[in-house]
């Protein structure tokens, strides 16, 4: 039983069934070394809306979800020290300009103005990648990073501090030519 390696808290059925199925054709971005294992997958609006519709999300919520770009990030700390996930330290750049990221507050406000039930807000929140996380050795984490939808390809430069006091060597992983699925 491979619970420990597969136990990414936010892995949805969607990611296993659709995203993994799509990987043969579209080769998702992957990186792995002795410190970190990282994979990103751009999700199509139909995949995202299908998942949330299946959980009873209202039309208004789905409408807002379909307008955003969803990138699923799955990572595991392969090292024997702490690795810090902090999305604010990442650089997501399209055409030399930072791409606007939709953080939790954006969705909170969006859902509040559309009177989305708390249960749906909660479920949605659990499918987002945590903004900040101290990842223990062998600990996986996963979830969606959401941003403004663009047709331009963009770069995701992901930076991770390391060590309990964040004083270890920084890990930088860069994926170029990432695209939102339209």
């Amino acid at each position: 039983m491979k619970l420990s390696t597969a136990s990414v808290g936010f892995l949805l059925m969607l990611f296993e069934s659709i995203a993994v199925g799509a990987e043969d054709k579209e080769a998702p971005f992957r990186y792995e070394d002795k410190n970190i294992k990282l994979r990103i997958i751009a999700q199509a609006p139909e995949q995202m809306s299908g998942f949330y519709e299946g959980r009873g999300f209202s039309k208004q919520a789905i409408e807002a979800i379909r307008k955003a770009c969803f990138i699923t990030v799955l990572m595991t700390n392969n090292s024997n020290k702490m690795i810090w996930l902090d999305i604010n330290r990442w650089r997501i750049v399209a055409n030399d300009k930072p791409l606007e990221r939709y953080k939790r507050d954006y969705w909170k406000a969006k859902f509040k103005e559309r009177n989305i039930p708390l249960a749906q807000q909660s479920t949605f929140g659990w499918t987002l990648l945590p903004e900040v996380r101290d990842l223990y050795p062998n600990e996986p984490v996963g979830g969606n990073v959401t941003m403004v939808k663009t047709k331009a390809s963009f770069t995701m430069e992901m930076r991770f501090q390391t060590g309990a006091n964040k004083d270890g060597k920084e890990i930088v992983v860069k994926f170029d030519e990432v695209q939102c699925k339209q």
């Binding site: 420990s4 597969a6 059925m13 990611f15 659990w126 600990e139």
Partner: protein, 175 residues
């Protein structure tokens, strides 16, 4: 007065001994020790409408587990939780499962196939799970007899495997 002092001292020694024992337990993979802090409020109804209040579980260890049916690691883990629960039914360890933000129908349909013996608490609006600030789903906390969060399982764990079962058995023996 002497008797009160002696009683307090005895309690203090017992508590200290229990703390030391809890700290000396060999931890299975993916279980981390937390700096003890009071567990957040946990008052919810189960699927039969009965109210559970974690505060009333003082005096024994509690396995507090958050999950949702859409979460793949939860789906893999929950049958192992059920097996551990059945195997430890005669111990003092109490299992408390909390479904996060799903309807009773969804939970009922899911558990009917996967783990029919479980009767989880329903955190229908997800606010109790938020309060606990879990690291994700699934999340398991082990709460000590004084109501303190003492251990956390990182992600899903195979609770029915020997090292996890031994760990839980040892906890159940601690006061």
């Amino acid at each position: 007065m002497k008797r009160t002092c002696l009683f307090t001292l005895l309690l203090f020694i017992m508590f200290g001994f229990s703390q030391a024992l809890a700290e000396s337990i060999r931890l299975p993979k993916g279980i981390i020790t937390l700096t003890p802090k009071p567990a957040p409020t946990l008052v919810l109804k189960n699927m039969d409408g009965e109210i559970f209040d974690l505060k009333k579980s003082r005096g024994h260890w509690v396995f507090v587990h958050f999950w949702a049916s859409w979460c793949v690691p939860c789906r893999r883990e929950i049958p192992t939780v059920e097996k551990a629960m059945v195997a430890l039914a005669n111990s003092s360890l109490e299992f408390v499962l909390i479904n996060t933000a799903e309807s009773e129908d969804t939970v009922f349909n899911f558990l009917g196939i996967v783990a029919p013996d479980l009767n989880p608490l329903l955190d229908e609006d997800g606010q109790v799970t938020e309060l606990w600030q879990s690291r994700g789903l699934p999340s398991t906390y082990l709460v000590d007899p004084q109501g303190q969060q003492r251990y956390l399982a990182l992600g899903g764990r195979p609770w029915d495997e020997t090292e996890y079962m031994e760990f839980l058995k040892r906890l159940a023996q601690l006061k």
